[in-house]
Symmetry: C2
Subunit: 334 residues, 2 copies
DNA sequence: CACACGAACTGTAACGATATAGTCCGAACG
DNA sequence: CGTTCGGACTATATCGTTACAGTTCGTGTG
């Protein structure tokens, strides 16, 4: 019914193995033979049977992604991008929820759960160094996200500080004189909030300014409703605030609503930059200026690291840091 | 390394085939033998290797879902539910976008595209009877959604008229005297809008009322922004409107915003019922009363039809209609 | 008692690919 | 000229499962 390697082999007058070698770019096939085989492949419209290949290679074709929660758009977008990238090679992504707790993430990493995957991408949030360091799995694991994790693992990092600095520099460069960081914090130096706060400070000192101590607006939760309420309140109290760096796009959406509540026009009275480049930011008027943490770059390299490690478990682990870029839209004046 | 059927066979002192038969519930194995085999399965922690089974059975483990567009929440939720249901049996869902046009849907149904699926679920929107009737595929196809399609196919329908009637009856029962249908239409009798409009009319006549001819508020597009604008305008013009049946939840969200714009309180001044039971409706205050088109039911039966047809291509096609139910939340007074 | 029959179970050959261990043959070398 | 060497290619076994065609063996029948 369907065309198999056997048909291609017959049509081009070579053995099964030669066809296999040609298709997989393995050595051991002459130049003319390669051409002849590829012609037959084209002519017959042959495509490899991934199921058979997987059986032979002992792979499942499934990659696991473990994130703290499904319902947050950041992870949704990450999952969508990864799924697309993996689909190119006929693989699938299964997303598991760890519940933002260390226990959840460790449970999701139990042997039984992972046995069905060829590799696992772990979004390390809420996991401490020791937890990750104690991990012993038979399946390749690639870490995704924050900094400060054991170098024993492949890791695609996100340059939180550089991104935050970039955002703040842009606000200052567009004429903001009094820039709030919403969702910032000085606690737990390793946390995403603290690192982005450091970037916000660095942008100030680099420009010869001193970040005001009450420029950090802490939020109990990085959620829309919470940000909206606290930003509204703060803007009513501090009429001189003319710029906001929101630590996430979620927070930025809340801040936009809060600013409107407080009677500020964006970007005329108040400029705003977010962080994450969620696709929704493109559609909410006047368009959210934000930091793209290099999603495409991260996904591309994460998949590459996975493939390398599946191929050879003993290759040296790599730590990569994705470059952040500024995406200018309507919430800033330049 | 991993435990195979061979290990189970050895451990329970039977042949490979007996283990296979027991596991798949095939006849030809005695009662004690079954018990013995299942004990060994438990003890060794055996799990079937889906890759091997697929190779042997000539299946890929992938099901295709073809929807008009990705970005609409209705299809997103449908896809999520289906993916979950299929994951139970270790299969995967691949979602393809047809672009809401007949050409797109037909292109997505081309032989080459479908060859990689065990079966395809086709959400028939924008396809006419003839287009579907001309379809000749080697892969099992199950239709999803609207009515009026060739009985040659398995089809899980959605009871648009009954659902719309249910919504309107509820509004009338809760004291609404003047119920608008937003997004309704009398054109193209087969369209979703027209059928739901018929349901709205039937609810009126069943109650001994005459639906007012200008009770149908047509929308150029079933989108939030559009519904918001036209509902606001209409409510300002017609102060006596005290109920709205929105043909979709999307439209209902827009209508809620439009009502607020027009200064109406929900549900005090104006009651509202949507259609689709999108999960978002639960979270938007005061909670959207809506019609659940039987998502779970549809998904359950769609998967069953798929499996039946994969098993036996010649089984008689079935047309099923999912039962609609009312989900009462805060936008209605009872 | 010979025979047929069906239930319970087994042996073997696939499914389509790849890893491994060859085989073959022409060129290079002493 | 005989030997070695390496590049090009092939034969076979195998991955874990299931379809199909047997093989037993106990029971019921004439």
């Amino acid at each position: 019914m369907t065309i198999t390697m056997r048909d291609v082999a017959q049509a081009s007058g070579v053995s099964l193995m030669t066809v296999s070698n040609v298709i997989n770019g393995q050595p051991g096939a002459g130049a003319q033979t390669r051409v002849r085989v590829m012609e037959a492949v084209e002519r017959l419209g042959y495509e490899v049977n991934l199921t058979a290949r997987r059986l032979r290679k002992g792979l499942t074709g499934n990659i696991g992604l473990i994130v703290p929660r499904f319902d947050h758009p950041y992870f949704g977008e990450l999952a969508a991008r990864l799924a697309t990238a993996l689909a190119e090679t006929g693989r699938h992504l299964s997303v598991e929820q760890s519940g933002a707790s260390a226990e959840g993430e460790l449970a999701a990493l139990s042997h039984a759960r992972l046995a069905t995957y060829d590799a696992v991408l772990l979004n390390v949030v809420g996991l401490r160094y020791e937890d990750v360091d104690n991990l012993r799995t038979s399946v390749p694991v690639v870490l995704l996200g924050e900094q400060g994790m054991p170098v024993r693992f492949d890791h695609v990092r996100l340059d939180n500080e550089a991104g935050a600095r970039l955002a703040t520099v842009h606000l200052l460069g567009c004429g903001a004189r009094n820039v709030l960081i919403v969702g910032g914090s000085h606690e737990d130096q390793q946390s995403m909030q603290a690192i982005r706060t450091k970037g916000w400070e660095r942008a100030h000192t680099d420009a010869g300014l001193t970040p005001s101590p009450d420029g950090v607006l802490r939020l109990p939760e990085l959620e829309v409703a919470c940000a909206r309420e606290l930003v509204r309140e703060r803007l009513l109290r501090s009429p001189d605030v003319d710029g906001i760096f929101a630590v996430t796009d979620q927070v930025a959406f809340g801040a936009m609503a809060g600013a409107r509540d407080a009677g500020r026009r964006i970007p005329e009275d108040l400029q705003l930059v977010g962080f994450d480049n969620l696709s929704f930011g493109e559609h909410v008027p006047p368009g959210l200026t934000t930091i793209d943490p290099g999603h495409d770059w991260m996904v591309e390299h994460a998949v590459r690291l996975i493939d390398q490690r599946i191929e050879d478990r003993d290759v040296a682990p790599q730590q990569l840091t994705s470059p952040s870029t500024l995406v200018v839209r309507g919430t800033t004046r330049c």
